[in-house]
Amino acid sequence: MTADLIFVLLALLTLVPAVWVAFSRNIVHAGFSLLLTLLGVAGLYAYLGADFVAVTQVMVYVGGVLVLILFTVMMTRVPQNGRPRHGLDRFVPAAVFALGVFGLLYKTITAVEWAASEGAVEPTTAEIGTNFITSYIFPFEYVSLVLLAAMIGAAILIRERRPEETEEPAAPAPETEEEVAS
């Protein structure tokens, strides 16, 4: 009973802000709403007994990705009229893409045999750790390489702007008398 209530609350915490993310006209508001959605998802993980994934969700998505998203949103150039455009030309591709993603997710979710756990849940961290460096060592290392490549790429993209001269040419301070007289 209480457990169901918690699930409903977590689901609402996930979905309501998600709707706000999609429909908010203020892009920073959308970003901050994402915070609640992500926390809701973390709560769902915890609810399912996946403690490590739940904490990782908070650490990576709330502490890292969301901060980055907000940073990007705050630092990017504002459109000239101050608000993002809302037109049919934007709406149709977005809708098609969203439906596509939904279809894909639906397919995946229904295709997988989900194991239901019974009784008290056990901590998962140690097991995940062991799996990473035994049976999943190759995917794990592969993902590390991809991330490393992404990091190097990012570093190249944002390399420092290097001015040719550090200072502008000096303000008028003529040295010779001719210049002064002229």
């Binding site: 150039r77 504002v78 993209l157 702007r161 290097r162 001015p163 040719e164 001269e165 550090t166 200072e167 502008e168 000096a170 303000a171 008028p172 301070a173 003529p174 010779t176 008398e177 002064v180 007289a181």
Partner: protein, 572 residues
């Protein structure tokens, strides 16, 4: 003193030099406005690296109403010369801003207060008065009691300025094909550092144009506490001006008092007694120590080293106690008098000052232990706010900020006054002209000041405090109460003021922050006809926008602290 310069001018320009005179030993030449730039250019090549100030005097009764005096200084030859031009109302004067950078603000001030237009000036706007102010306050026909209400703030950067700055920044980037990095004007942010900002203590304003944390450009606005000191002075007797000088550089009021008294004495043609001079030296050096303490500790607070503040401020507080005991107040000292001092030292002054100086040594040693080899401090100050010696001279730098660039020039040594030639002291210098050197020069100067005070205390001469001239100094009280001559003497001096003979004199000395000068013009009445202050931080602050460009906000704050901008004398 500067006959060489005058001779060279006469050789070069012949009859274009309209007049040569030397009031009170200040060599001056008069030229026509058309020849002004040629003369200044020649003088600059002849070794006058610095334009100290431009003084404007209004003579409504003359056909050429305004008289402008350019005060020039040669550091290499240790010489001074004044160049005068007379211009009619509304007749433009060619701007010297292309020859000396310090002319920029100096001319703006003249334009603001007297309404003399300068042709070819890069940025001829009001400086001390509000941009909505009407009229020119220092003209003789501007009524002193007239008030004006000006409220609208001035925007220092227009949209075009911002667009231009973005373009300039883009031009400087090495890779022109890299479109990702292109700056757009909307990427830039203007932020007001001040007037209500902790680092500008409500009296200065710098609007900076930021690309992230980097300052692309800065513009400054001053005048927030402009109190018309110079206009007020014209409405008071010479002696009545003394308390107002306390409020110029309120961190070292004694120095203002002493140098003002000296300037008026010079204009009259008298010299203070040896005892008064020695006392002035002692209190001036104490003031210098206080001023440096405040500057260094505030600067350290600005870069986050809060604890040093107390180590230095405790000493300052302690010295203030002595000064309070000496003259009755901490800040508004009003201790010097024209022709002497208000009263003699109190008993036990000697011993007390020596104790205070020992305290200072302890405080300074504590601070040096905390900062001298502190990596964070060095990272924050070395190569921050750098100015080259040549630029510093052109901007009109004097005092510790100039010495930090490596030029060992100190008016106490090279144009001695008040008996400074009798004391043995060094001129500390820096090498780099950065914030670190400015702080260290001030720290070292405190040690020298200490040594000067100790020498002065050791050989403090006995003898009269005031000069024996009752046309300058108030008669002794016995005589006032005991004789009709004394009463009359007192009455005349108080009501009509000291009758300074018609003429002019530029009295100057080494203020805590550089050359502090008073250009006195007397018309023979008891009031100053014109009293122009040459505050040391005025030209220094004019370079601030240039100094912080390309740096970051924290650098701008650290630099501001090290320049020791005192709004009281900046705005007057």
């Amino acid at each position: 003193m500067s006959q060489k310069l005058v001779d060279s001018l006469q050789r070069e320009f012949g009859t274009d030099i309209l007049a040569v005179d030397s009031p009170r030993g200040d060599e001056s030449v008069t030229v026509a406005p058309e020849r002004l730039l040629d003369v200044l250019g020649h003088l600059r090549c002849a070794g006058c690296e610095q334009l100290s100030d431009v003084v404007g005097v209004d003579h409504p009764d003359r056909a050429e109403r305004f008289e402008l005096v350019y005060l020039l200084r040669s550091y290499a030859d240790n010489e001074r010369v004044q160049v005068k031009v007379n211009v009619a109302e509304d007749a433009p004067v060619p701007s010297a801003a292309g020859v000396y950078r310090s002319a920029n603000w100096a001319e703006r001030e003249v334009y603001d207060l007297l309404g003399v237009p300068f042709s070819g000036h890069p940025d001829l706007r009001r400086l001390l008065c509000h941009h909505e102010f009407e009229g020119h306050a220092l003209r003789k026909d501007y009524p002193i009691e007239q008030g004006q209400e000006c409220a609208r703030p001035e925007k220092l950067f227009t949209d075009e300025d911002i667009a231009r700055a973005a373009e300039r920044a883009n031009d400087l980037v090495s890779d022109p094909d890299d479109v990702h990095d292109e700056l757009h004007p909307s990427d830039l942010l203007t932020v007001n550092i001040g007037p209500s900002h902790p680092a500008t203590h409500g009296a200065l304003r710098a609007e900076v144009l930021l690309d992230g944390e980097n300052i692309l450009e800065a513009r400054t606005e001053i005048g927030y506490i402009h109190r018309c000191f110079e206009k007020e002075a014209e409405d008071h007797t010479w002696a009545q001006v003394m308390p107002y000088t306390d409020r110029l550089n309120y961190c070292s009021a004694m120095l203002n008092n002493s140098i003002y008294a000296m300037a008026v004495e010079k204009t009259i043609g008298v010299e203070a007694t040896p005892r008064a001079q020695a006392i002035r030296v002692i209190v001036s050096e104490l003031s210098r120590i206080i001023d440096h303490l405040v500057c260094v500790c505030a600067n350290l607070v600005d870069i986050g080293a809060l604890t040093n503040y107390w180590y230095l401020y405790n000493v300052r507080e302690s010295i203030y106690e002595t000064l309070e005991k000496l003259c009755g107040s901490r800040l508004t000292t009003n201790y010097a008098r024209i022709g002497g001092m208000s009263h003699d030292l109190f008993d036990g002054f000697d011993a007390e000052v020596r104790t205070k100086l020992d305290e200072m040594d302890v405080g300074n040693a504590d601070v040096m232990k905390l900062i001298a080899r502190n990596r964070i401090f060095l990272d924050r100050t070395v190569d921050v706010g750098v100015i080259s010696q040549e630029d510093a001279l052109s901007w009109g730098y004097t005092g510790p900020c100039l010495r930090a660039t490596g030029l060992a020039y100190d008016l106490r040594k090279l144009a001695p006054y008040s008996g400074y030639e009798n004391y043995d002291f060094d001129i500390p210098t820096g090498t780099n002209g950065d914030t670190h050197d400015r702080i260290m020069v001030r720290m070292a100067e405190m040690v020298q000041s200490r040594s000067i005070i100790l020498q002065a205390l050791d050989k403090l001469p006995d003898g009269p405090l005031n000069i024996d001239d009752n046309s300058v100094v108030l008669p002794p009280k016995e005589s006032v109460y005991g004789s009709i001559e004394g009463v009359m003497n007192q009455f005349k001096l108080v009501y009509e003021g000291i009758q300074v003979p018609a003429g002019r004199g530029y009295g100057f000395g080494e203020g805590a922050n550089g050359e502090l000068g008073y250009y006195c013009v007397s018309d023979g009445t008891g009031h100053p006809y014109r009293l122009k202050v040459r505050p040391p931080c005025f030209p220094i602050f004019s370079s601030y926008a240039e100094l912080v460009r390309g740096g970051m906000i924290p650098d701008a704050i650290a630099t501001l602290g090290s320049l020791n901008i005192i709004a009281g004398e900046l705005d007057r």
